[in-house]
């Protein structure tokens, strides 16, 4: 029992913070919000230099073989700056999935390249932008002589047009649940693949539509067993949920700081506004909720790494607890700042939009409430 970060983890956080601040801090996110895609390209090279892209890659593929605890410790820092780029998509979702399901060939083809920073990944899951997973996976996949043919349009693909490869979920079997789902690794440079950026609430992490026009892929593109990828997909979604939650915890930590600074410096009615209990207690509550969310993230990350039986429930606890509460933390930060809090210049709205955009993505809090209780009752 030692619920603290290691010195090594603290060190990487410090380095990450110094690096991001030297590059402009949250200005990087603002550049991406304004539509500057180069910022992701530039950043990615640096992240690779710092070995961040290699964290979850196994040692045999030139990585560090670290798990979610290490990754979330880092992502908390990137979240503080709303750092753009598909790091959680690549490192939390795709890499462990490739490692788990991939053939030697697939691993060899992708993992070292990811570690080097030469390949970025995202995932294309939703065929319907209004349904929950796994029901929202309906993509038509026809079997061909030497592989499969994909036809249809995926939506809500994070950074879809700014990555090299996508993990695409298709339905090769019957039903609408976890069964019958197959995964494919598809290059975005294929001619039959077209991406279109969607104006997204969180413009630091834009969503894309990705259209497959009778895209033929060979057997080498099939990731894992045909029909059988539902469980692995669910695990990948869990890792991603924890990763993104960690980023939002980092953002919430920053929001508490911003409100505290404001409460200390800004004067109204002749005294710093943080002396007013309404403001002081609201910030105290923000801090409590941020710390509580952080606790759940730490535990879930550890439980996923350790393969604990309550890992799935722990992930659901994160989203159940944090989805709306962190959102409110950001809203409260905006309110604490008065009129300035509602301006584009204040960072609060960047976080607020991230929290809302993330709310129902890969599982709404309601989905997670249901799953949490199912798991809990199964344990009794």
């Amino acid at each position: 029992m030692d619920a603290t970060l290691t010195d090594e983890q603290e060190r990487i956080r410090k380095t990450a913070r110094e690096f991001i601040e030297s590059e402009g801090g949250i200005e990087l996110a603002r550049r991406r919000m304004e539509g500057d895609e180069r910022v992701v390209d530039e950043l990615w090279a640096d992240l690779a230099d710092l070995d961040y892209t290699a964290i979850t890659v196994p040692p045999e593929y030139d990585g560090f073989g670290e798990g979610m605890v290490y990754l979330t410790a880092l992502l908390e820092v990137t979240g503080r700056y709303a750092l753009p780029g598909p790091l959680p998509e690549t490192a939390a979702f795709a890499v462990p999935l490739l490692d788990e399901l991939g053939t030697d060939d697939q691993r060899e083809r992708h993992l070292p390249a990811v570690a080097r920073g030469d390949q970025r990944f995202s995932f294309a899951l939703y065929d319907d932008r209004n349904e929950s997973l796994p029901e929202a996976v309906t993509l038509d996949v026809d079997e061909t002589d030497d592989g499969h043919r994909l036809s249809g349009t995926k939506t809500l693909v994070p950074y879809g047009g700014e990555v090299d490869h996508l993990v695409v979920a298709g339905r090769t079997g019957d039903g609408s649940g976890d069964d019958g789902i197959s995964l494919f690794v598809v290059g975005t440079d294929e001619e039959a693949v077209e991406t279109r950026r969607l104006d997204s609430l969180d413009r630091t992490r834009p969503m894309y539509e990705v259209t497959f026009s009778d895209l033929s892929v060979g057997d080498a593109a099939l990731l894992g067993d045909r029909h059988e990828a539902g469980d692995a997909l669910s695990s990948a979604a869990d890792r991603y949920t924890v990763a993104r939650s960690a980023m939002l915890v980092g953002a919430a930590d920053r929001a508490v700081e911003l409100s505290t600074e404001h409460g200390t410096k800004r004067e109204q009615y002749g005294q710093p506004v943080g002396k007013f209990q309404a403001v002081k207690h609201r910030i105290a509550d923000m801090w409590i909720e941020m710390q509580s969310a952080r606790s759940l993230v730490y535990y879930a990350a550890w439980a996923l790494d350790a393969g604990e039986p309550d890992a799935t429930r722990s992930v659901s606890a994160v989203k159940t607890y944090a989805a709306d509460r962190l959102h409110r933390v950001f809203g409260d930060d905006m309110w604490n700042h008065g009129g300035m809090g509602f301006t584009w210049d204040h960072d609060g709205h960047i976080y607020l939009k991230q929290a809302k955009a993330w709310r129902n993505f890969l599982g709404s809090p309601e989905d997670h409430q249901d799953r949490l209780l199912e798991e809990r009752l199964a344990e009794r």
Partner: protein, 399 residues
């Protein structure tokens, strides 16, 4: 106790409904209620303001002698209900019609009334109000924008912020400091300032919602003539208090109700996982709770209207209308986002072309006009309930 309307009132409602059916912009009636973008917007809004004026529906609460209908408080309530139900476009001269006009009628000189009042209702002159300052926030009385008497003119220097409609405005109802030697509520003077002069410039404020609705207004040796002082020099705080009394006569609860009914229909019609959203008891709890809160807020508003009809003056209870409506709008727009599927992640390419997202984001800025919930709760605690005043906040916020 009686929530019925008598025949006269129903006739008033009927007249307005019929007029709206004939005069609302046609796109609007078809359900496309987006304001035009860019410079088109001002044209559109000025036209609508003129249409309202021509129909006699621009300032129903104004006395008949100034071109209004002399509508009673109940009729004003009906007016707001119907405009919300029709989702009519906003009035570009809302500041002039709701605040400046009535204030001039109450506190202006004969010359001011003659010069300014007719052009307000017709929308020929659009007004903004220069209150908040970067270092004053809701603490209006600590303003520093100065007006100095030079001959027959006042020379104005300083900066205002959160000034809505300034981008369209012809005139500004300005609160300035004319004497810095006394207590902060003293030495304040209200002036009518022509915005169309070299000494006045403005910048729009880029909002979190990616829109521009508020402005910073800079006064750099701007001038106002001596006869454009409202009330007495150095007694502007009294005028501000008079004017703020009019603010409480507005409420957004009726438009909140319309948005709620939209949300209800969405949840009835939309399915997820094959089930109508409304079959989820969580959704029902959220909707029913909003429904009951909206009904409560409406009836509370009616009660305030009735009380004010009796007493003739608005009380601090109006703070309740404000804080309740602000929180309702914030909660409602959040629920409207939360019941969406994962598509909640989209903005302009998302549901209703981003309108839901705009409403949701906008709800975080709504209090800029009304003062924060914290301030309203101070007012309720101190002025309604008589709790001991915080020495610091005493009298120094708008009510």
């Amino acid at each position: 106790m009686n929530f019925d309307y008598d025949d006269e009132h129903e006739a008033f409602r009927q007249d307005l409904r019929e007029w709206l059916a004939e005069n609302l912009p046609s796109d609007w009636q078809d359900g496309d209620r987006q304001l035009p973008e860019g410079s088109e917007r001002e044209r559109f809004l000025r036209d609508w303001q003129r249409t309202l004026y021509d129909g006699g529906w621009a300032g129903v609460h104004w006395p008949e002698e100034y071109g209004g209908r002399g509508a009673s408080l109940v009729e004003q309530t009906i007016y707001r209900e119907e405009m919300a139900r029709a989702r009519a476009p906003p009035q570009i001269n809302v500041v002039g019609i709701n605040f400046v006009g009535p204030t001039l009628v109450a506190a202006g000189t004969e010359a001011q009334k003659e010069r300014f009042v007719p052009n307000i209702l017709s929308g020929e002159e659009i007004w903004c109000q220069g209150y908040s300052e970067p270092d004053a926030g809701s603490d209006i009385a600590s303003l520093t924008t100065s007006a100095e008497k030079q001959g027959d003119e006042w020379v104005i220097n300083g900066q205002k912020i959160w000034t809505s409609y300034a981008q369209y405005a012809d005139w500004c109802f300005l609160v300035a400091r004319t004497d810095a030697s006394g207590e902060k509520h003293e030495g304040i003077t209200t002036l009518l300032v022509d915005v169309d002069q070299e000494g006045v410039s403005m910048d729009p404020i880029h909002q979190a919602s990616d829109e521009e609705g508020f402005n910073q207004v800079y006064f750099d040796d701007a001038v106002a003539s001596a006869e454009n002082v409202v009330g007495e020099v150095g007694h502007g705080w009294d005028v501000v208090m008079t004017l703020s009394a009019f603010e409480h006569s507005t409420t957004t609860i009726f438009s909140i109700e319309q948005d709620y009914l939209d949300l209800l229909e969405y949840c009835r019609d939309e399915t997820r996982g094959g089930e109508p959203l409304i079959e989820d008891a969580r959704v029902r709890r959220d909707l029913a709770d909003l429904d009951a809160r909206i009904q409560a807020a409406k009836v509370s508003h009616y009660r305030n209207v009735s009380k004010r009809s009796e007493s003739g003056t608005p009380g601090p209870e109006g703070s309740m209308d404000l804080v309740v409506a602000d929180e309702l709008r914030n909660d409602l727009t959040n629920v409207a986002m939360d019941v969406l599927g994962p598509e909640v992640a989209l903005w302009e390419d998302g549901p209703r072309d981003g309108q839901l997202a705009d409403d949701y984001l906008g709800s975080y800025g709504s209090w800029i006009a009304a003062g924060t919930g914290d301030v309203q709760r101070n007012i309720i605690g101190e002025r309604v309930l008589g709790l001991p005043k915080d020495d610091k906040s005493q009298e120094s916020h708008r009510a």
